[in-house]
Amino acid sequence: MIGHRFDFHQPKELDEAADLLARFGEDASVLGGGTMLVPSMSANLVRPAHLIGLSGLGLDSIELDGTHLRIGAMTTYAQLLASPIVASHAPLLAAMAAQVTGGASILNQGTLGGAASFANPSSDAPGCLAAMEAVFELHSSQGKRCMPACDFFADAFRTARRADEFLTGILVSRDATLIACQYQKYKASASSWPIVTVACSLHRGTQASVRLAVGAAGRRPAYHRFTIDERSLLAPDALIEQAASRALNLVGEGWNDELADGDYRRAIVPGVVRRHLRTLLAGAKA
């Protein structure tokens, strides 16, 4: 049993949830799927006076409109994997979800919004969502605001979400320019949290570009969009070297945890960036 006493709230309406957070703010924790928060409370590592569960709000829909794919914050990894909309409009996200560890029980319970809000550097979702230039939809009693991934992921285990806000959805632009994408995590063993993740995609619109995000290596995802000359795709070595060194600079201070220290993570980055960009761009020459 969880050691400390808390009030458990299960609002049925967005406004009710917003009012609770406006009242309790820093004294409240927001409960998503529970895969991190519930065990943290069992271990007395997190001791909120109020726990606000989002499961009654119907935030698990995946919708497509003319411009965006919108994924409700409580959408589980299993729902992402089962969605034909995600498969065709967000293949990078589908590839990430397919590599989440922990078995069917975690896929059924862990939520994309929860993983993003927890912002564990050594996890899958932040890097992938950064590479997708996802936008985060935050609700409070003052209304709704939308924030790009580069601002949302503020630091290790910290997002730009205010204490009176909760995440309701994640928006991804529909993108007809996407040619190819890759997601791969590097980990110490089959069930390990990632040591480094690479998410990259190639886009061909009026201007060709490569989006690259390295996760788990630093305190927050390292993301850059490289605008490229079509001709450079014919001999992409210089571009790949430039991206590998840029990615390492963006990683900055390496992330240390019990799985790997920061120097080790940084040492891996250039090699895996080269590997994935080579594969990504190899298909683009034709």
Partner: protein, 162 residues
């Protein structure tokens, strides 16, 4: 919400009610309040899978669920999952357990796999039980047992651990 709350659920096909402390986990509700001891308390961190149950037909870890969040759900534990006789016999035939602590969770996870994929490959079996730890490290026998239950015979190609 007050310190004591009433929860209502269907446990293994039977409607049940309990007045519980709101700090209780689902696995504790099942074992302590409702006295179904087949589900184990292992790590309480969501890693080991000893507490694996079905909630509304989906495999879940009962240590990651607050009992207070259960509201009329259909919960099934090792005691109430139908059609697992073949799996049980295969676990015995293949020595799919040593101390037995992980076994109920393994069988719940394996039964869920076989329901969705009646003829899984060895790789698919490994993935399906990847949320379940066996600290006796008897994984080869467990994978063989699930394979035998599905295919009616041993894994070919020398994948046994003898």
């Amino acid at each position: 919400m007050k310190g004591t709350i009433q929860v209502r659920l269907t446990l293994n096909g039977e409607p049940r009610f309990a007045d519980i402390d709101s700090r209780l986990l689902l696995v504790e509700l099942i074992r302590d309040a409702l006295d179904a001891k087949g589900t184990r308390v292992g790590c309480l961190t969501g890693d080991c899978g000893a507490c694996t149950v079905l909630i509304d037909g989906e495999v879940r870890k009962a240590c990651l669920v607050l009992a207070a969040s259960i509201s009329g759900n259909d919960v099934r534990t090792i005691e109430g999952i139908e059609g697992i006789e073949t799996l049980k016999e295969a676990f015995i035939a293949e020595n799919g357990f040593q101390c037995g602590f992980c076994t109920s969770g393994m069988i719940v996870a394996a039964a869920d796999l076989l329901k969705q994929n009646p003829l899984p490959s060895q790789e698919e079996i490994r993935r399906a039980i990847s949320g379940n730890l066996c600290r006796c490290t008897g994984y080869e026998s467990i994978v063989n047992a699930v394979y035998r239950a599905a295919h009616g015979g041993r894994l070919s190609g020398g994948n046994g651990d003898e």
